[in-house]
């Protein structure tokens, strides 16, 4: 009986972890769906967004190290702090500017190229952004606090203790992440279904050529999609950065998104969510039930094994578009 109760706690936490994975996967899906580009830089974008947010919040002088080295100054901070909400809005603005620059300086020159060329360009972009983040904001670990609560939820613990005689652990940050992810997905769906720009985005996703022929600006759509992906990266960066501090390993959260994408499909927003939940629950349950028998630390590889098993039966992923090619 105890094992069943523990398993239920593990499932709940797996669902919460899955939401965190899905937050990262969403950014990949948006760009892939609209442009067919697998954006290798999505994890680094989350890092860059989080670095920028903390930098703005703390009134840090960007490129301070470079300026001080060049001019012999000792600048570090402007001497003010910026409220979290305003800092988030300003960071979102920076991500829009970044999207514009990426389109202008990289993507525009690669229109019509093979997807692999665009993929390679995003690899270069990832390394560039990582270096830029380092030079702009420094490589130290930064504490990110936008007012999100962390730690065990007393309510959940008390309620489950009354029901089962064992209080479940749920991190309040994970609960917030779930609420925010739900709002984000609802907003994205509403945007793509009910706005002119959203419909244009879907048109481009369906057929570039046809969309161009009816006067939709591919350039505008790309800037818009990269901006939205930048905002999603900011949300993911806030959630993961609150957990571990903002540091350069934040870019590695992309590794957690890959099995989610393989399982859920690269082109489906619901797929990213459902895929995240399946991966989250699957890896946590496997670690709980089988991990102790095989020495533990199964989660990283099991997520990929689980995704591969799904691929055997659904090569396009659970919600991916079915590829039909006729001879």
């Amino acid at each position: 009986m105890d094992q069943l109760i523990f398993a239920a706690e593990v499932v709940l936490n797996g669902l919460m972890a899955g939401v965190m994975y899905a937050l990262v996967a969403l950014g990949f899906v948006l760009i892939f769906k609209a442009s067919g580009v697998f954006n290798y830089a999505q994890g680094v974008m989350a890092l860059f967004a989080a670095l920028t947010l903390v930098g703005i919040q703390n009134g840090q002088v960007p490129f301070a190290h470079l300026i001080n080295a060049a001019f012999g100054t000792s600048l570090h901070h402007f001497g003010w702090t910026v409220p979290s909400v305003l800092a988030i809005l300003l960071t979102a603005g920076v991500m829009v500017l970044l999207a514009f620059l990426i389109e202008k300086l990289v993507l525009q020159h690669l229109v019509g190229q093979e997807p692999i060329i665009l993929f390679m360009a995003t690899i270069g972009l990832a390394y560039f952004l990582e270096g830029l983040g380092d030079v702009m904001w420094g490589a130290d670990i930064k504490t990110l606090d936008v007012g999100l609560p962390q730690g065990i939820s007393d309510t959940v613990e008390q309620v489950t203790a009354n029901w089962f005689g064992y209080g479940f652990f749920i991190d309040r940050l994970d609960i917030w992440a779930t609420v925010i992810a739900a709002l984000l997905v609802a907003a994205l769906v509403a945007f793509s279904q009910y706005t002119k720009q959203g419909r244009a985005m879907r048109a481009v996703a369906d057929d570039h050529q046809a969309a161009l022929s009816v006067g939709i600006s591919l350039r505008f759509i790309w800037v818009m999609v990269w901006s939205i992906a930048g905002f999603v990266a900011l949300v993911a960066g806030i959630m993961w950065g609150t957990k571990s501090g903002v540091q350069f390993s934040l870019s590695l959260i992309a590794l957690k998104a890959l099995p989610v994408l393989m399982l859920g499909g690269f082109t489906s927003i619901p797929g990213a969510i459902v895929g995240g939940l399946i991966i989250g629950v699957g890896e946590k349950l496997f670690e709980f039930a089988i991990g102790p028998m095989v020495g533990g630390a199964t989660e990283n590889w099991f997520a990929y094994v689980l995704a591969l098993v799904f691929l055997v039966f659904r090569p396009q992923g659970l919600f991916g578009e079915r590829i039909i090619e006729r001879v």
């Binding site: 990582e130 490589a139 130290d140 606090d145 065990i152 501090g245 350069f248």
Partner: protein, 426 residues
């Protein structure tokens, strides 16, 4: 053509250390996921040699050149760095990575270059009769595990029977190092040991901490690095694990590791083999000759942090080994083999540490042909979130030699057999 060749030759000479310099490379990592830890260590290492050059004109009148090579804490890049640095005739290498160390151990034996791995690397390299070119004083991972248990014994009135201790570890060669020691110690003292590996990088540890919450161990010991540290400490705070019963190895005990968890990290303990803070006379000299002179490494904002001090300490031991080598050889221009001899004859007393401006900073180090690891004394530091600083809470504690010596003998004997090494020092 002749002009361009001359220009090229001049450029190469300008970029290379002066031939008469003592070359002590800094295999650093200032980029990548572990940069936040690599930067302060590299800065401390560089700044100490800058101080010696600026204040004393080097060591024995010969300036020290510290070419830096970026490993990004990546084993392949570390080996590339080794190959790139080898033609510069380095006297000693300090790769700051257990993975890179394992790759370099066979190479340095062939190339005749000393490898100095303070507080990391292969523990059994303490046995100098097998590992001729490797030194890991003043303490190693097994010393750390043993002292953690001694501290817990002290906290529990000398009796650990029936107690539960969990090891949360980086699922790598480094993280697995203390397992054998802790298993032996659990048999000796009667505590129950549970092992909880975390795959790198360690951003997601919910499973491990849910298990800790279910099992309710009395103490948790951690061997982690990088983001795994911050996440583990935050998860421990989340499940309300008592911080004064959570003990990290020295690689889990920097300011970087505790600050993101805020006030919750108050009381967290970590092992260390050197002092904390910047209240040492050496740092006054550092301020005057390095920082105020605008010659500080990196951004110049790390002095006194835990990892900066560790980088300084590594440089201090290397400098003292070079000084000893110069005395033994009777010449200031020593080579790598002579520096190895200097390490084996190293004797840093408490008085010498005070002379260096680091009183009570580190334990006395006395090495020999057989002993490349020193006495392995370790102390504990505790984090005060309110003050935002570490403070030392114990004196240096001796590890359990009865347990560790046979393990070192066995592991080094196995290496000697695999590698066809005939133990020396007879």
């Amino acid at each position: 053509m002749k002009l361009s060749f001359t220009t090229l030759a001049a450029a190469i000479l300008a970029a290379s250390p002066v031939l008469a310099d003592l070359v002590v490379p800094n295999m650093s990592y200032r980029t990548g996921p572990y940069a936040a830890n690599g930067i302060p260590y590299a800065d401390g290492f560089n700044d100490y040699f800058t101080l010696l050059n600026e204040r004393d004109g080097g060591i024995g009148g010969v300036r020290v050149s510290v070419p830096e090579c970026e490993t990004a804490y990546n084993t392949e890049k570390g080996v590339e760095c080794y190959e790139a640095l080898r033609p510069q005739n380095p006297l000693v290498l300090n790769p700051l990575s257990t993975g890179i160390t394992y790759q370099l151990i066979p190479r340095v034996a062939v190339d005749g270059i000393t490898l100095y791995t303070p507080g990391y690397g292969r523990t059994s390299a303490k046995n100098g009769s097998v590992f001729e070119w490797v030194f890991n004083a003043p303490a190693n991972y097994w010393d750390g595990a043993s002292v953690a248990i001694k501290h817990i014994l002290d906290q529990e009135g000398g009796d650990l029977s029936g107690k539960k201790i969990a090891l949360v570890y980086h699922n790598s060669a480094y993280g697995k190092e203390p397992i054998r020691t802790l298993e032996e110690l659990s048999q000796k003292h009667g505590f129950e040991l549970s092992l909880l590996p975390v795959d790198a990088p360690g951003q997601e540890q919910k499973s491990q901490w849910l298990q800790i919450r279910r099992d309710q161990p009395d103490y948790v010991i951690m061997y982690a690095w990088g983001v795994m540290n911050q996440v583990a400490i935050q998860e421990a705070v989340n499940i309300r694990f008592p911080m004064d019963r959570f003990i990290g190895i020295w690689w889990s005990g920097s300011e970087n590791d505790v600050r993101p968890a805020g006030a919750g990290a108050d009381g967290y303990k970590a092992l260390t083999f050197h002092g904390v803070g910047r209240d040492y006379p050496l740092y006054d000299d550092m301020q005057q000759y390095v920082f105020d002179a605008g010659k500080a490494s990196g951004a110049g904002d790390q002095m006194g942090s835990v990892l900066y001090s560790r980088g300084v300490y590594a440089a201090v031991v290397i400098a003292e080994a070079i000084r000893t080598a110069q005395e033994l050889a009777g010449t200031p221009n020593v080579n790598a083999a002579q520096v190895r001899d200097g390490f084996e004859a190293l004797n840093i007393t408490a008085e010498r540490m005070a002379e260096l401006g680091l009183p009570d900073f580190g334990q006395p180090i006395s090495l020999s042909c057989e002993n490349h690891g020193g006495d392995g004394l370790v102390r504990l530091q505790q984090w005060s979130a309110g003050d935002g600083q570490w403070s030392l809470i114990t004196d240096f504690i001796e590890p359990d030699a009865d347990i560790l010596n046979p393990l070192i003998e066995a592991d080094s004997a196995a290496f000697a057999q695999e590698s066809g090494i005939t133990p020396r020092c007879n």
